[in-house]
Amino acid sequence: MATVEFRVSERAHITVDSQVCRSCTTKECVYACPAGLFVPTTDGGILFNYEQCFECGTCYQVCNSEGAITWTYPDGGEGVVYRHG
């Protein structure tokens, strides 16, 4: 991902409720996120980072447990900056 510019925000624009994730058996976000931001933990939760997010929205779209992933846009001017998109 070193090929894309990210203006990393102080505020995390993704939040994950690992309580909800523990009851999820499929964990679609782990596979579908094109940045590979979601990593399952041994206790069944989800570890994630928001810094290298492409801001596509795949994670909350595929998440089958409403409320597990909260996704908003990063603050104005921050986040991914595509030059060749």
Binding site: M1, V4, P34, T58, Q61, V62, Y73, Y82, H84, G85
Partner: protein, 437 residues
């Protein structure tokens, strides 16, 4: 409490193709318009899959082709049916597409979107970048009266809000026009842009001057509903896949894996040899088609572009930017008229849908409303590419000293190998004819 919010005639959220087109029309009609963009510049958040068709601009920006930031004019368009070790290509070239008024172009969205936003600014729109519209303002009756932004004291009051905030449109969702999620109607596009010297691209793809190539592919997504694409810019080649979100999640494949697989395909790898990765990008695409297009006008607000699910995905045609521009122009004109008439209620804005129905935006969507189902059916993805490739391979394989096989026997053999049933093939063919007629 902040002071009185900034008040303008219209606020357009998102300086993509839809938003800039809307702002351009409003500004030309003499209206005060703020064009909000959450990225540091227009296009910073945007990704496309290969071709922008510019003729929608003919009347609005005459001779747009003299100044648009084009990479290459697409004069060669190929459709490739693939299996892991085979590829059958229909390769079309049109010389006419290489001179005005042209047909499709490749571009970088950072350049194209900034250019179009610049046209709106020249006409008098106020572009405000690095600003997120975080919510809608409403009056006591529930009518939309503006937007809240993430700037301090950043409320903007407006007679009309035009939501062009993209596929994830939080404004359309807040207004109740779009569901919170719609994974079944959404695809994910992932793309790598790779650098190669311009002469190498010209030689490898048989191109000269500013001419370019676009390839669309079926059968290259590991059985996940979707397809692949490759297109040339001046000194980069972009290659990627578009896949169903639900299919991707079920298959437990990573999107990068699909792109890597496509790049390694024997029909693609030689094109990319020695290329250096410049950018990896990902974006969602609203592919729901006509039936997924929401209500487009409510009291004080219009929706356009990806926010209104206006991408046309109909097998032979994959278009989005032109639909966004067409919708944005119509939204801007309608809003300007409604403001002048003093009625920006849903009723006063109803002309928007009529305009879209009268032009290609909703006419094409309506006519092709069944095409996506036919083109992304399981058979089209898993059986027919292999069937077609096997027929070609069997016909062109010389098996001397044996004589040439009989065509009919080879057809039967290819059908059996790919589990193609004749009556379903006939039915699919018939449905495809009807869907595209």
């Amino acid at each position: 409490m902040p002071d009185q919010p900034t008040a303008v005639d219209a606020v357009v959220v998102g300086a993509g193709p839809a938003g800039s087109a809307a702002a351009l029309e409003l500004a030309r009609a003499g209206r005060t318009v703020v064009l909000l963009e959450r990225g540091p510049f227009p296009g910073a958040k945007n990704v496309y899959g290969g071709v922008v068709y510019g003729r929608v601009l003919d009347d609005v920006l005459p001779r747009w082709w003299d100044e648009v930031p084009v990479q290459r004019w697409v004069t060669r368009r190929a459709t490739m049916l693939m299996t892991p070790a085979q590829a059958l290509t229909v390769d079309f070239r049109a010389g006419a597409w290489g001179s005005p008024p042209y047909n499709g172009m490749t571009t970088y969205r950072a350049d194209f979107d900034s250019w179009l936003a610049g046209k709106a600014v020249e006409a008098g729109a106020r572009l405000v970048t690095s600003t997120v519209a975080t919510g809608l303002l409403r009056d006591a009756a529930g009518r939309i009266t503006g937007v809240r932004t993430d700037r301090p004291d950043g409320d903007i009051a407006a007679q009309v809000v035009i939501a062009c905030d993209g596929v994830n449109s939080f404004l359309a969702k807040e207004a109740g026009l779009l569901p919170r999620t719609s994974p079944g109607h959404t695809t994910l596009g992932v793309k790598e842009t790779l650098a190669l010297p311009r002469e190498v691209i010209d030689e490898r793809f048989g191109l000269t001057g500013r001419h370019g190539l676009d390839i669309e592919m079926l059968g290259c997504t590991m059985g996940i509903p979707g397809g692949g694409f490759l297109y040339t810019s001046l000194d980069t080649v972009s290659v990627g896949v578009v896949v169903s979100l639900t299919g991707l999640a079920e298959a437990k494949r990573r999107p990068e894996e699909l792109v890597a697989g496509l790049k390694a395909h024997p029909a693609i790898a030689p094109y990319l040899r020695g290329a250096e990765l410049k950018e990896y990008s990902a974006h969602l695409i609203p592919e729901g088609g006509y039936r997924a297009i929401p209500k487009l006008a409510i009291d004080g607000m219009l929706v356009a572009g990806d926010a209104a699910a206006m991408c046309l995905v109909a097998g032979l045609w994959l278009e989005g930017v032109n639909f966004a521009i067409g919708a944005g122009l119509a939204a801007g004109r309608t809003a300007a008229e409604a403001i002048a008439a003093g009625d920006t209620s849903a009723h006063g804005l109803a002309g928007y849908r009529r305009r879209l129905t009268d032009c290609f935006v909703l006419a094409d969507h309506k006519r092709l409303r069944n095409a996506a189902d036919v083109m992304v059916s399981d058979r089209m993805l898993r059986q027919y590419p292999g069937f077609a490739c096997d027929i070609a391979e069997q016909l062109f394989t010389v098996i001397n000293p044996h004589p040439k096989p009989h065509l009919s026997r080879e057809l039967l053999r290819a059908a059996r190998r790919n589990k193609v049933r004749w009556h379903t093939l006939a039915r699919d063919g018939w449905q495809a004819m009807r869907a595209f007629s």
